[in-house]
Symmetry: C2
Subunit: 180 residues, 2 copies
């Protein structure tokens, strides 16, 4: 993953990945999110989201996600499946500190969005604020994806190269090269 991020660092949208969740009615949902780095020293992906968004509601019903991350420059795909954890204003430490750190790392433009009217509700004409508070509002959540299965496909090569990685119940990782 670190190598793919480095190879694709010139593309801002290389930090965009697609996160699938399951809706309360059992249908899948899928949207682009921004990768905000790994939790220090772990494989856990950091994402931020709005408490009022559909995905926050979906995670309450089913805490599982699969991220699909395609890197155009190196033509490789990572599929990262695992548990999702939503960390909101009510969380205690040490999680609350992680949420505060994620807020501090956001740009002013990204922060403003959490002060805006409810996402997905009928469009309001009132001005959308261009300033954000210093502390995270209640709408701001840190979202963690802790992968337990990874599928890595490299399109370069004929046939392509594909490997699976998965975490055992004991916590260690196993790997297998598979047919593309």
């Amino acid at each position: 993953m670190a190598r793919a991020l480095h190879r694709n660092r010139s593309l801002p949208h290389a930090r965009y990945l697609q996160l699938a969740t399951v809706r309360a009615d059992g249908r899948p949902a899928n949207r682009t999110v921004v990768f905000r780095g790994f939790l220090d020293g772990t494989n856990v992906l950091r994402i931020v989201t709005d408490r009022r968004s559909q995905k926050a509601d979906q995670i309450g019903h089913s805490p599982w996600g699969e991220a699909c991350w395609y890197f155009p420059s190196s033509r490789e795909q990572f599929r990262l499946a695992g548990a999702l954890t939503l960390i909101g204003a009510e969380a205690a430490d040490p999680q609350q500190t992680l949420r505060q750190q994620a807020w501090q790392a956001l740009s002013e433009a990204a922060r403003c969005q959490f002060t805006w009217p409810e996402p997905g509700a009928p469009r309001q004409s009132e001005p959308f604020s261009q300033t954000a508070p210093a502390d995270p509002p209640v709408s701001f959540c840190l979202l963690l994806l802790d992968p337990d299965h990874v599928d890595h496909l490299e399109l370069r090569g004929d046939p392509q190269d594909r490997s699976r990685y998965w975490q055992t119940d004991a916590g260690d990782w196993q790997t297998a090269r598979v047919n593309p």
Copy 2:
């Protein structure tokens, strides 16, 4: 959609989108697929897939999908949710004709993959064929996504522009501009 495709036509990976489905155990799955055009005169997206792939199995359990399609050049996202239909070798006309047409439209390189060993199984060392039959093998399926909900987000603009489109039971489309 047609306008977004045109604006992004110089990027080969603008035809790559991420398709979410639901696994038999209720967890989401997500992978990149290639857009193969619309069914003539409809909003139905054409995709091809291997009968032996996980997604074909998942669609047997839950025929719902959501595609997330991000266009880097125009910085816009379409989320397309709807029913998935898998059309295999056993399908009757008129669906079988659609499957045959999809096969004819594939490149030789894309066709070869349907003759390869089972996708996702332990990697085999035997040569992977570089030639394909004229007629589609049993592994080849046409996959149709018929959207009934669309969410269109344009990142350009501050605040961003977001609209929803959905199909009523009567079959007509309604739309609403919503908060980003």
